[in-house]
């Protein structure tokens, strides 16, 4: 199980309070306590079932890495299951399993998180084990050599042998110049090859400390009990002094960037991304919520514009979507991706998408359309309460990227406040050609020398 790798991509998340649901139906109270050593503890009580999820989020991930050490955060995540001073390799997982628990971990660009879902009375088990590996990880050469092989297999599975995933990797590396988002979360194969146990030890010492972590518990538990246990198990772990994280802001893009990635694939694939700000990179957030709603207008459901006009209408695309992750730590991309129908080229699909963007720039969206997106946001904010895990994930992520968990409560109202004029404004302000990166993934030809194929490059 463990060691998932989250690549946030073409992913629109909606969350928070509802207009349909009444307040007593959907309690939304978060209890916060910060221990003396800086560990932040967040608790959300949900008594629907006698279960709980415990997540610990560290402020470290692929975007904290630099050239030559890419993939280090993720490999360290794997090693966190391979033994501590008091636990044999694999013993952590064994104890959780014997307690009926499910556990895993994931590494993103901006975070590394570990979680256990268990019957609620087992909370103490997960706390004891997480506190142990926060301070006493035992990095061993034998386990490292083996686990590095596992990660390389993971990379082959997820990237090398998946044409679209690999194209996305090249796309990001081309779109970003100075931002660390140019590197893949799992790391470049060469960097994995060059990784040493000493690199991991230093990374662990640098980032795994209570004042760099947030503990989030959601479920059938009392906040007071959680705070008590947190104090008992984590309270004695000393804080670490941190140097300021280098900002590594992306340099301005001064013109469109285009690339081609040839792959062993049967259909071409289009990737487009505009440089845009995110909640964490701006003072005033109106533009951010407008971009969020704009992504809904294009891609929020099967009545949204891209599917309506490009899949069902002109039938230039067999699939197409837009995505915007407003909750990343650093400025990011407003993304489009799609596969053209047979007989249409990626070039034609790109033109069709640009046409949709231009429409947003010239004409305000209708009230009906806007209301539909807002209704979906409101409903989704109730649906998400069906999952303790998702609720915990929202709090942990917002806190860890620097936005602050409190922002989740504002979401629905901020979305509702977005006007048609504001959407038109942000379309004109941000979705501009000079800030665009386009990658065409083209199938390699069947020819003997692998020369590029002609059939896919021309428009119909």
């Amino acid at each position: 199980m463990k060691k998932l790798l989250i690549t946030v991509f073409i992913l629109t998340m909606f969350y928070s309070l509802s207009a349909f649901a009444t307040a007593e139906n959907t309690p939304n109270i978060v209890h916060e306590k910060v221990l003396k050593n800086g560990l932040k503890v967040l608790v959300k009580e949900d008594r629907r079932a006698p279960v709980m999820v415990s997540q610990i989020w560290y402020k470290v991930g692929a975007s904290y890495e630099y050239d030559g050490i890419t993939g280090l955060s993720h490999v360290l995540e794997h090693m966190m299951f391979q033994g501590t001073d008091n636990l044999q390799s694999g013993e952590f997982s064994k104890i959780i399993a014997e307690n009926g628990g499910r556990e895993n971990a994931f590494t993103g660009a901006d975070y590394t998180a570990y979680f256990q879902t268990m019957e609620a009375s087992r909370l103490e088990v997960s706390m004891r084990l997480e506190a142990e590996r926060m301070q006493r990880l035992k990095l061993q050469e034998k386990e490292f050599v083996k686990e590095l092989q596992v990660v390389m297999e993971e990379r082959r599975l997820r990237t090398e042998d998946k044409p679209q995933s690999q194209a996305y990797e090249y796309f990001k590396a081309m779109a970003f110049t100075s931002s660390p988002y140019r590197n893949p979360i799992i790391g470049w194969m060469q960097d994995l090859d060059d990784m040493t146990l000493a690199d991991l030890g230093a990374w662990y010492q640098q980032w795994y400390a209570p004042n760099n972590a947030t503990l989030v518990i959601v479920g059938d538990i009392q906040a007071a009990t959680v705070f008590e246990l947190a104090e008992q198990y984590f309270g004695g772990i000393p804080a670490v002094e941190f140097k300021a994280v280098k900002q590594r802001v992306e340099v301005p893009q001064l013109g469109i960037r285009r690339g081609i990635v040839k792959q062993t694939a049967k259909a071409p694939y289009l990737l487009m991304g505009y440089k845009v700000p995110v909640l964490n990179s701006v003072e005033h957030d109106e533009d951010i919520y407008a971009l969020e709603v704009l992504s809904g207008i294009l891609s929020g459901g099967s009545s949204a514009r891209l599917v309506a006009n490009l899949v069902r209408g002109s039938q230039v695309a067999t699939s197409v979507s837009a995505g915007y992750d407003m909750n990343s730590r650093l400025a990011n991309l407003f993304l489009f991706d799609g596969v053209p129908t047979q007989g249409h080229s990626v070039d034609a699909l790109e033109k069709a998408i640009i046409e949709q963007i231009n429409l947003l720039k010239t004409e305000p969206v209708s009230k009906k359309e806007l209301d539909r997106i807002k209704a979906q946001v409101v409903a989704a904010s109730v649906y998400e309460k069906d999952s303790n895990f998702y609720q915990g994930m929202q709090l942990g992520m917002l806190e860890t990227v620097g936005v602050g968990w409190q922002k989740s409560a504002e979401y629905v109202d901020k979305v509702k406040a977005v006007s048609a004029e504001k959407i038109q404004y942000v379309a004109n302000k941000y979705l501009i050609e000079d800030h665009l990166t386009v990658v065409y993934m083209l199938p390699k030809s069947q020819g003997p020398k692998g020369e590029s194929t002609q059939e896919l490059a021309h428009a119909q």
Partner: protein
């Protein structure tokens, strides 16, 4: 995200021992036209989930492989004179969600809405149209067919998908389960609207339908909603039973050369149907063998000992007729021989000696202690109830589960695996590149 955690799909397999947890009460009634309704009342969230299950999976495709999937995907693309756009707009303007899907055994429609009448009533009315009066418009039919054909072509971009298709083709030779759910390029090209309409009329009927409702509504509301949704469906006939699966007569190894860095390996044979008399022994045995992630032998041997794969697992996938027992992994091409030997050896050891007493105790603790996790949301509850009712499992299944799990012994697992898993008849499929130094 891909994890190493594989669970038997299609059946509900958990129970509480130390935890006092209310097992959901499944209410059941039959409508006058023959449709069965199952209802679980929940409180806490103003949400309604519903799923309608028809015995109308790809096993019923006949000579038009891919027909069930295409029919199902077109239901919401035009109904009662309203086009796909209008249907989507009506649902999404109240935040409701509707989706369709097909497996080899079943086709389903899944629905979610807020329980607020202002959302639920209009959304349910759209659901009714989609289910009762699909128009199968010519234009949408052509488009969806083309999309399916491209998706079929794109299967060749994935060594994992190719391995699974090759495996089913071999272990179900001569049986409808052998065909891909989506069909193949030739069969899909041959499908016309005539077949689609016939398929719909034959299988989307009350005697072949089961509705599961879960959510914050009363029994009275549930009855009313069921009537509204299904009362107009013609009774029709329950679908004929799917043919039995023949036992494999000899072991086979199939290799497909593919330009990937990894070789995908699948080692399999058909074993378990729903409600199999041996299911608890098989389930517990597999939990120990390769069904419980890092606690399982396959992960220990393949990943933890040898570092051969990121994902390695085994599962029983129970189906209406015998579904596959399957061990799977992916490893770099150079290591595929080593992986093949390690997988075979791990399985042979387990079959010969069975699990240890400690392994069985740990597995029982994991299953019973984790019981509450399997029913802790409306979404999971819906999935569990659907699994029970679609497979004609007794409705008290959850109530008796603890006893059944607890009763399984080491000896029983060993005996059952020896009797049911004919290792010499298993099929090994590998998809990847044969490297220089081997073969």
């Amino acid at each position: 995200m891909r994890s190493n955690y594989q669970i038997v799909t299609g059946v509900v397999l958990w129970f509480a021992c130390s935890v006092v947890m209310a097992v959901p009460t499944i209410q059941h009634w039959k409508m006058t036209n023959g449709a069965h309704v199952y209802f679980v009342a929940t409180d806490g969230l103003p949400i309604v989930d519903a799923r309608v299950v028809f015995n109308a999976g790809s096993a019923y495709d006949g000579r038009y492989s891919g027909l069930a999937a295409l029919t199902s995907s077109l239901l919401d693309q035009g109904a009662a004179g309203q086009n796909a756009q209008k249907i989507a707009e009506q649902l999404e303007s109240v935040g409701a969600q509707l989706s369709t899907g097909s497996s080899r055994d079943f086709s389903t429609l899944s629905f979610r809405s807020l329980s607020d009448p202002n959302a639920l009533a209009p959304a349910w009315a759209v659901f009714k149209k989609v289910l009762n009066k699909p128009d199968f418009p010519e234009k949408d039919f052509k488009r969806e067919k083309q999309r399916n054909l491209l998706s079929i072509k794109r299967r060749e971009e994935s060594p994992g998908v190719l391995a699974q298709l090759a495996l089913y083709k071999e272990i179900y030779k001569g049986h409808p389960y052998a065909n891909p759910i989506q069909g193949d390029a030739v069969s899909v090209a041959e499908i016309s609207l005539v077949e689609l309409n016939n398929f719909y009329k034959t299988y989307y009927v009350a005697n072949n339908a089961k509705l599961v409702l879960v959510g914050g509504i009363s029994r009275q509301q549930a009855e009313k909603m069921a009537e509204e949704l299904l009362a107009d469906l013609p009774s029709g006939q329950k679908a004929a039973a799917i043919a039995e699966v023949d036992d494999l007569t000899k072991g086979t190894a199939i290799h497909l050369e593919y330009p990937s860095q990894q070789t995908h390996l699948m080692y399999s044979l058909p074993v378990m149907a729903h409600n199999d008399a041996d299911k608890f022994a098989l389930y517990l045995g597999n939990h120990i063998l390769g069904g419980s992630g890092f606690s399982s032998r396959i992960v220990k041997e393949i990943r933890e000992e040898r570092g051969l794969a990121y994902s390695a697992y085994s599962y029983f996938h129970p189906m209406v007729q015998k579904g596959p027992f399957l061990i799977g992994l992916q490893t770099q091409n150079e290591k595929s021989d080593e992986a093949v030997s390690a997988v075979k050896q791990t399985l042979l050891d387990f079959i010969e000696k069975g699990p240890t007493e400690q392994e069985l105790i740990a597995a029982k603790k994991n299953i019973s202690g984790g019981f509450a996790l399997r029913l802790d949301s409306n979404k999971k509850l819906l999935g569990s109830v659907v699994s029970i009712v679609a497979t004609d499992t007794p409705l008290n299944y959850l109530n008796t589960y603890l006893k059944n799990i607890d009763a399984v012994s080491v000896e029983q697992i060993k005996e059952t695996f020896q009797r049911r898993l004919a290792v010499d008849k298993m099929v090994m499929v590998t998809v990847g590149q044969i490297t220089g130094e081997k073969k």
